[in-house]
Amino acid sequence: MPVVAAAVCPHPPLLVPEVASGAASELDDLRAACLAAAESLATATHIVVIGAGSGTYDAAAGGSFGAYGAPSVRVGSGPPVLPLSLAIGGWLLEQTKAARLPRTYRAVATDTAPDVCVRLGQEIAGSNDRIGLLVMGDGSARRSEHSPVHLHPRAEIFDTTVANALQHRDLDVLNALDADLAGELQAAGRAPWQVLAGALEGTSLSGDLTYEAAPYGVGYFVASFT
């Protein structure tokens, strides 16, 4: 069985209320959209979480938000090894019905070549399980004058391209995202989105973009593929 559902979510630490403290309510909409998208993965028999970073981990792998100032928030049961993107993914899943499913975390380095990402997606889709794919990825961190990294003139058009490709399930556009440009724009989602593109190839899942904004100058997208 191939991929039966997929979800795309961003991974700012700020999504975790204990990290955001009094600012938590500012991301209520985003958090709700992420949880709804993650919930849609519960029809699968195995969850695979993809995000920027390195390493492959099993469902028990630990994650912590202590490195961002909230040591009380933990994911999994092991020592905190998950990179941020996967820790946020695990944190979302644990709040959904998909929490009980077997889970694998797969990180991809931000500079992984597009064809390697696509092949990884195809490989995941070749599993015997009914896969629910949670794809963690941010748009450009250079969207505005107040972005963490200073405004880049191509950031907005890049993010708009990604948003349209997610909405319309345009795998060719996702496959063609330029790794160097994404690096320059500090868009952490490029490699994970290309894994998604590879994984969706043999499916008829259609996309639904449920959130698209850059409230702090970093592009956030949420999409469901069902």
Binding site: G66, Y68, G69
Partner: protein
């Protein structure tokens, strides 16, 4: 909760006296550093002291209000218009010479990361190089060593062109700050910078989120335990603004709270915008700590 090491870096074994220019600051004595920006785009004063006359007047006022040091910055710390070395020199060198002529005993610090600027401002009379970019120019320690100035060793979380500068993560932010700043201090010492002129600065906000800057403030005693004099620059910073939800112009009370805790936990040099407020707070804390006498105690004693 994990057990934290009390000291991570090597402990400074000097006599604990900080010597800058003609001044000496013993252990337990607080030194107040007034911020004077020679930039048109500072986050706080938005260029109020960009012009030379206004800047000199601000220096005179700060000295009269109790500043021991002045910190002159020719380049905005955050993102902004590029400032060439020539322009930075134009904003700082003659200005330092003018301050030196007017205030022979005022300690002059220059906030620069360029060794070329450090050499020329030292020649003009600067006593301290405040390297806010944590040794980005490796020749800066040599400039301080050759000129005999002091040096501030700071922590910016490894910010450099090839690292991701957002979402800074630390297993233990305090341990990281101690490791980084004491390593820079050791390097400065090895390069010949005077042991009694080296300070470490945890550099709140730079490469840190608010929770991390709060943690640094809360655990400042661990930095002080390294033996290196600790400089804190908390004045009006974003971690205070985010904690209290206040814009830059309304962070004065929060600044005094952070400054007071820092002083209590062992900081020795305080970089501030509001000199009289900080001077009062520090004078009060010095009495509480027993390193100074009250001005006069008549109440219920006559």
């Amino acid at each position: 909760m994990a057990v934290r090491p009390r000291t991570v870096g090597r402990v400074n074994t000097g006599d604990g006296v900080l010597r800058l220019g003609s001044r000496s600051f013993g252990a337990g004595e607080f030194a107040l550093m007034a911020i004077i920006n020679r930039t048109p785009d500072s986050f706080f004063d938005r260029g109020a002291t960009y012009a030379t006359d206004a800047a000199l007047a601000a220096i005179d006022k700060a000295a009269a209000e109790g500043a021991d040091l002045v910190d002159i910055g020719g380049v905005k710390a955050g993102y902004g218009e590029p400032v060439s070395e020539a322009e930075e020199l134009r904003r700082t060198v003659d200005f330092v010479a003018a301050i030196r002529a007017r205030h022979p005993d005022l300690v002059i610090s220059v906030d620069t990361y360029r060794s070329g600027v450090a050499r020329q401002v030292a020649e003009a009379g600067a006593d301290l190089i405040n390297d806010t970019w944590a040794g980005a120019d490796p020749d800066l320690v040599n400039a301080a060593a050759e000129a005999g100035t002091g040096l501030v060793c700071s922590h910016v979380g490894g910010l450099s062109p090839r690292t991701d500068p957002h979402r800074m993560a630390y297993d233990d932010v305090v341990a990281d700050v101690i490791r980084t700043t004491t390593a820079l201090a050791d390097r400065a010492l090895a390069a010949g910078v005077r042991r009694d002129g080296i300070l470490i600065d945890p550099t709140h906000d730079f490469g840190k989120n608010t929770l991390q800057s709060l943690e640094l403030t809360r655990r400042l005693d661990e930095l002080a335990a390294t033996g290196w004099p600790v400089l804190v620059a908390v004045s009006n910073k974003d971690f205070i603004g985010e904690t209290l939800e206040l814009p830059p112009g309304q962070r004065g009370n929060g600044t005094l709270a952070a400054l007071t805790i820092s002083a209590w936990l062992g900081a020795r040099v305080f970089r501030v915008h509001d000199v009289p407020a900080a001077r009062q707070a520090l004078d009060f804390i010095a009495v509480l700590r027993g390193t100074a006498q009250p001005a006069g105690t008549r109440r219920s004693l006559v």
